[in-house]
Subunit: 391 residues, 2 copies
């Protein structure tokens, strides 16, 4: 998938499609435990280039998903180009009447968030009519129709459905507080006042609500799941591996060099870390320009050769320095894991940086190669090309 040379000693994000596949299966079994109806279908949410995992790398792990959900028309085209033939839900693009007629996009599902999109849909039938989900504004208030406007919009879409201009028409909500049981209950109640008088399937649940209250999903037709498919918990205070999920992205870099500090010597910008006694420090070629967070707490965890260690000194644009005192065997070339294993889930780094895991994986920059592993596509892990050295 990538040639060896340009990777050099830099950080890489290894993407495991097999883990995506495992997490999807986990969710399917989870949903299958509830209700007597067939379990709801699953939209695998891959917006933001699959939460930073890279669309191309994750699609091979999503073969069993019922559809994929993207934000933009551009990503929908990329997925069709990559060979995705199942439904695509475009969640927040304003497709023109012309674009709606493009057969390449079919089977196409569409959220209708605003009157503009209604008008475009009314401009005449497409050869392959789209399936439309009318979005309720709810308390997120980012997009969609308020309860006072919802009925009129639904009536216009019903008319299109009856004329055969739509493949289907459903109700969609996106929660603002899916991780708070009381608020979630309130959001669902408000929505039920809107959809209950009207026919049609529903798509409301996301990763957090599917964990907090999975029984509710058995009443819906489609659910959406993003973060969980990447092996990451949507709920603070837990992590993917503890739920039985597998991290799909492992961020790793080989040690570039090893430095020896004497007692009292400092390291890094601002010299904020000072060695209390003689110590070995490893440098890796990763920094905040890769998207690694700069504002981590002291002693942020890493793994050196799969065993626990910590970051010392400040994260700079291109360099992170790690404590090697408990790792006498570590030398240039030894692998350092920054996040994304059972032992070091990304949730721990998010906690250290006072943010959420989605910010970390989707915030990786273009400088980090996404290297797909497994699925017979990429073969074994790539090795750094440089001979070891110590500085």
């Amino acid at each position: 998938m990538m040639s060896l040379a340009p990777l050099g000693d830099q950080v890489r994000a290894y993407i495991q499609p097999a883990s995506i596949e495992h997490n999807l299966g986990w969710l399917q079994r989870h949903l299958g435990q509830f209700g007597t109806r067939p379990a709801p279908k699953i939209w695998a949410v891959i917006k933001a280039d699959a939460y930073g995992h890279s669309t191309a790398a994750v699609l091979t792990g999503l073969a069993q998903a019922d559809g994929i959900a993207v934000l933009t028309l551009e990503q929908a085209y990329v997925c069709r180009f990559l060979g995705w033939h199942k439904p695509i839900l475009v969640m927040d693009a304003l497709l023109t009447a012309n674009e709606l007629r493009d057969p390449v996009l079919s089977p196409l599902h569409l959220t209708v968030n605003n009157p503009y999109q209604l008008t475009e849909l009314e401009k005449g039938p497409a050869p392959s009519p789209p399936y439309v989900w009318l979005r309720y504004r709810g308390s997120l208030n980012h997009a969609g129709f308020e309860h006072t406007e919802y009925g009129a919009a639904h009536t216009r879409l019903q008319r299109l459905l009856q004329a055969g201009h739509l493949a289907g028409l459903g109700h969609l909500q996106h929660y603002a507080n899916a991780d708070d049981p009381a608020q979630l209950h309130l959001e669902r109640q408000l929505f039920s006042q809107v959809f209950a008088p009207r026919v049609g399937p529903r798509c409301t649940e996301n990763s957090a609500s599917l964990l907090l209250d999975p029984g509710f999903a058995s009443d819906t037709d489609w659910v959406r799941s993003g973060i969980m498919l990447y092996g990451i918990s949507p709920l603070s205070g837990s992590n993917g591996p503890s739920l039985g999920l597998e991290p799909a992205m492992t961020l790793e870099a080989p040690l570039l060099a090893v430095q020896h500090l004497r007692a009292g010597q400092a390291i890094g910008y601002g010299n904020s870390f000072q060695a209390k006694h003689a110590m070995r420090v490893g440098l890796i070629r990763c920094g905040y320009a890769d998207g690694y967070p700069r504002n981590i707490a002291q002693n942020c965890p890493v793994l050196v050769n799969n065993r626990p260690s910590r970051i010392v000194g400040r994260v700079s644009m291109d360099t992170i320095t790690v404590d090697l005192n408990a790792h006498p065997e570590a030398s240039a070339g030894t692998m350092v894991t920054l996040w994304g294993t059972k032992q070091l889930p990304i949730e721990l780094i998010a906690q250290s940086a006072a943010t959420i895991p989605a910010q970390l994986c989707s915030g990786l920059t273009a400088r980090v190669p996404r290297v797909s592993t497994g699925s017979g596509r990429c073969g074994d892990r790539l090795e750094p090309r440089r001979p070891p050295h110590e500085g």
Copy 2:
């Protein structure tokens, strides 16, 4: 430079090569004020894809620089491919003897950070010998030679210089505390003990030290400047425009939609913002998956149509919401500036996010198109392709 369609309504980083050129001229005049010797030459530091500004976009503004400094061999090749014929300083790659012989890279300058690089240099002369800068480890302790090792390494390089295998040999330091006058003085003193007994030019100063104590640079041969060339102050408590610099990156997105909130209605995940009275809120297609910081303080500033406003509600993966109450004229398509003008320097956003400006610009992800403006290359600013609408 880019076609219109794929840009859609998303956020864009407009890069102004003319501002880079202005800031370089500012620095040249600044350096020209000191000492009787000719002013030192300037390495324009463009590592991390020009601090996120994109190498291709900034090179056209750097025509008057004496050389450019990159981190990796790969970026050096990109710059040669883009037509950069002046010297390139590769700051932290371990070039093999073979790579050192590649005439495409010439004129090549190289920092020697470790014994491995010495060994490669000793493997025989290159047709176009590189210019070598021996790096002192200083108190940053990321790379380079300690004072106990520096002499031996210098002797080995001197031998290569005398044999005609090097184009030149200099002394290089990178400060750990360039923004702290007392610490900076100490770091310089330590380095002077190392280089003073030895001949050769020096390259020590960076943006922060050039502002704090510009007179010192007149004793050196080359200086390095990165952040300042992008119009950003290297010193906390000041900003680029207040120094006379011009921000080279403006991060902007058109309003995607306008929402109306009634008194008491909330917006965004966690519903952390509640409207005290009826208000209009604008949505823009930018979020933490673009690299905009998620952990900003309340009321983080933005410009709506070049007039001050603020962010309300939480920054999500794809959406930022801004207060439009003082902007009755704002509608879908109205431009919102997120950072990078005289009125809204990036330093203000960095302060709100408790980080440094370099983290923000170099942390932008691949989802943000860098659009070069001016220099006759890109013409006028691109306009969003969608007709306005209100949600």
